[in-house]
């Protein structure tokens, strides 16, 4: 049995269904991400696991025990809150030792464990500081140390990096990955930031409207999105309306209105005549100045509409003959070359047959 089992959990607020019949199981030692836009139910689900909220239907099992009716203080689960919720009137040491003191441990053993915990998050020497004397990153580390000190079965993290600036975020992500490996405690991490989820998690559950849209490893979520929502929410995606023309030998021939036919790999379950979309990542689209017909690629002529210089890459928006626009990403690997094309330039775009993915919903 998995460490955490969420079975058919539903939570309604009046007419609004925040969590709609969700089932998930999370293994010991796993770094699990709940990813979705705001209002998708991920925080409600987290609060139910912590015990602050109760499901209207279904049950939550921790370590083989039904948690129904068990209050938060009796659950072996700790939360790192988005605002960190450090106690402002307590020093770092008192904040970190709080769970131990609540558990009634002896002062002598508390001191040693606090020192160890602060050492784990590289905050040795900060024990007598107050939260308002710390930077955002340090507060985040205190919150994590406090939540981990009495070794819960499960650590819940509610958007813990939302308050940090971009540069710091990357460092903290690496720290979190290392820490999670070291302590071996399962993390359930809630975020709306897909990049964060891809970087951190072993597995991601993408949520929308209270349901889990897709549950998989990050590379599979990104590479093989199950539906249009996941494709669009994770990274950027070109979405082209398409219809299945033929299916043969694991390949599909799609008809794109006003453009022609493209070939792609067969999406399981798709049938001839079915309507849907072709989802295509910008980095899969190659842009070149003239037509170079290669046998394993789809290619179309187009015109550069606009471009976005992002430093490491430039994203070109190419207008196709049917009026739809496709983003193509070109790495700026050669120094000093920021752009290859100007708006209005005639170009050719192409993508391999095995790039792109046909999605029906």
């Amino acid at each position: 049995m998995a460490l955490l089992e969420i079975r058919d959990v539903t939570r309604r607020f009046g007419d609004f269904t925040a969590v709609d019949n969700v089932s998930l199981s999370i293994e010991a030692g796993e770094f699990f991400c709940l990813l979705g836009p705001s209002g998708c139910g991920k925080t409600t689900l987290l609060r139910m696991v912590a015990g602050f909220d109760a499901p209207n239907g279904g049950s939550i099992w921790l370590d083989g025990k039904d948690m129904t009716g068990v209050p938060p203080e009796k659950r072996n689960v700790h939360t790192v809150f988005q605002s960190y919720a450090l106690f402002p009137h307590m020093t770092v040491a008192d904040n970190v030792s709080f769970p131990l003191r609540m558990a009634g441990l002896e002062p002598a053993s508390i001191k040693t464990r606090v020192d160890e915990a602060l050492d784990d998050v590289a905050l040795t020497g900060f024990s007598s500081r107050y939260p308002n004397e710390l930077s955002g990153g340090q507060r985040q580390r205190v919150a994590v140390a406090r939540a981990l000190i009495n070794r819960p079965k499960l650590l819940l993290l509610d958007e813990p990096l939302a308050a940090l600036d971009a540069k710091l975020k990357e460092n903290v992500q690496l720290e979190l990955i290392t820490l999670q490996k070291e302590v071996g405690i399962a993390f359930v991490y809630v975020t709306h930031d897909q990049q964060e989820a891809l970087a951190l998690a072993h597995r991601i559950a993408v949520m929308n409207h209270g349901r889990v849209e897709q549950l998989d490893e990050p590379s599979r979520i990104y590479g093989f999105p199950k539906n249009r929502f996941v494709a669009d929410f994770i990274g950027t995606c070109n979405i082209l309306e398409a219809e299945v023309a033929r299916i043969d030998a694991g390949r599909m021939q799609l008809r794109i209105p006003g453009l022609g036919e493209v070939q792609t790999t067969h999406t399981e379950g798709a049938r001839a005549g079915e309507k849907g979309v072709l989802a295509l990542r910008p980095e899969q689209v190659v842009i070149s100045p003239r037509l170079e017909s290669r046998p394993d690629e789809n290619h179309f002529a187009g015109k550069v509409f606009d471009f976005l210089y992002l430093g490491d890459v430039t994203v070109y928006v190419v207008e196709l003959p049917n009026g739809s626009r496709v983003e193509a990403m070109l790495p700026n690997s050669a120094p000093g070359r920021a752009k290859f094309f100007e708006p209005g330039d005639a170009v050719e775009i192409s993508w391999r047959f095995d790039a792109g993915r046909f999605l029906t919903e």
Partner: protein, 297 residues
């Protein structure tokens, strides 16, 4: 002078002037008065007196202070007033804390109304409200009658409520309660509810959540409310006058007596000075203690 300094003075000038005119100068006058002699028909004797024979006497003395320290009656009265004020502050805190918490945790749209209800008694006259207590606690009142009937059932002697220390404390608590509720509410209302979630999440039961989080975080409000109740309660004279009878007098009554009945202004000034010094000293101690408590917490 640059414009920022002008603006600073324009803003802080009027309140500063007010404090100097109506607080600093009167206090200094009182300090001086405490060293002077009473006039023949009340008031103050002139500082420099010119005799008919051309002699000059300077009427400044330490006698008023000697009188205060030589008669233990005054120190006892101070101590008694101090305990009345302490009990009043404690009872106000016990009543006000749950009330302020209730208001702070009720839905936002109800809070303003509830705060309004707390300050509603201020809309009627202070003396009328205290006289109302005189009626409630009087021997003929329904309240006293019911209480004594109840006591009689259990074989107790009937009690007198009015003109007792009990009546004084009831009056003091009643009048000062809003001064405790408002700063407590202002503090509790700002508490981040997620702190309580965090405490609960980390294993604190509801008792521990209150004593480890809510109460310590609210200490500035507790100290503010305690100062606002304790200091006026310490020096008050109207309530013991009306509700206390002869046994219930406080130091404020003696000060009033010195100024209005005995017309011994210098000795009244001495008592006022001692009252001010004790009150400021206690407030200073409380502020120091609050800071230290935070530093050591």
């Amino acid at each position: 002078m640059d414009s920022r300094r002008v603006a600073r003075w324009a803003i802080s000038g009027p309140p500063l002037l007010y404090l100097v005119l109506f607080f600093a100068i009167p206090t200094l006058i009182m300090v001086l008065a405490s060293f002077r002699l009473p006039g023949d028909f009340g008031g103050l004797a002139p500082i420099v007196e010119h005799g008919d024979d051309g002699s000059r006497t300077v009427n400044l003395t330490l006698e008023n202070y000697q009188r205060f320290f030589s008669d233990p009656l005054y120190a006892e009265l101070f101590l008694k007033s101090f305990w009345y004020a302490v009990i009043t502050t404690a009872v106000c805190l016990l009543i006000a804390y749950p009330l302020a918490m209730l208001i702070a945790r009720s839905p936002k749209r109800h809070r303003d109304l509830l705060v309004l209800l707390v300050i509603l008694p201020f809309w009627s006259n202070f003396l009328i409200r205290v006289y109302a207590w005189m009626i409630i606690l009087g021997p003929q009142s329904v309240f006293t009658g019911a209480l004594n009937a109840g006591l009689g059932l259990f074989g107790f002697e009937p009690v007198r409520l009015l003109f007792t220390p009990f009546a004084v404390v009831v009056g003091l608590v009643y009048v000062h309660l809003p001064f405790m509720v408002l700063p407590l509410y202002a503090n509790l209302e700002k508490h981040d509810p997620v702190l309580l979630d965090a405490a609960q999440d980390l294993g604190a039961n509801s008792w521990q959540r209150f004593w480890r989080v809510t109460f310590p975080v609210s200490l500035p409000g507790v100290f503010a409310g305690a100062a606002l109740v304790f200091i006026p309660a310490f020096g008050i004279f109207a309530i013991p006058d009306i509700l206390g009878g002869t046994g219930g007098i406080m130091i404020g009554n003696v000060i009033k007596q010195q100024f209005l009945d005995t017309r011994d202004w210098p000795f009244g000034s001495v008592l006022s000075m001692v009252l001010t010094i004790v009150a400021v000293g206690l407030a200073g101690f409380a502020a120091w203690y609050a800071r230290r408590a935070k530093a050591l917490a």
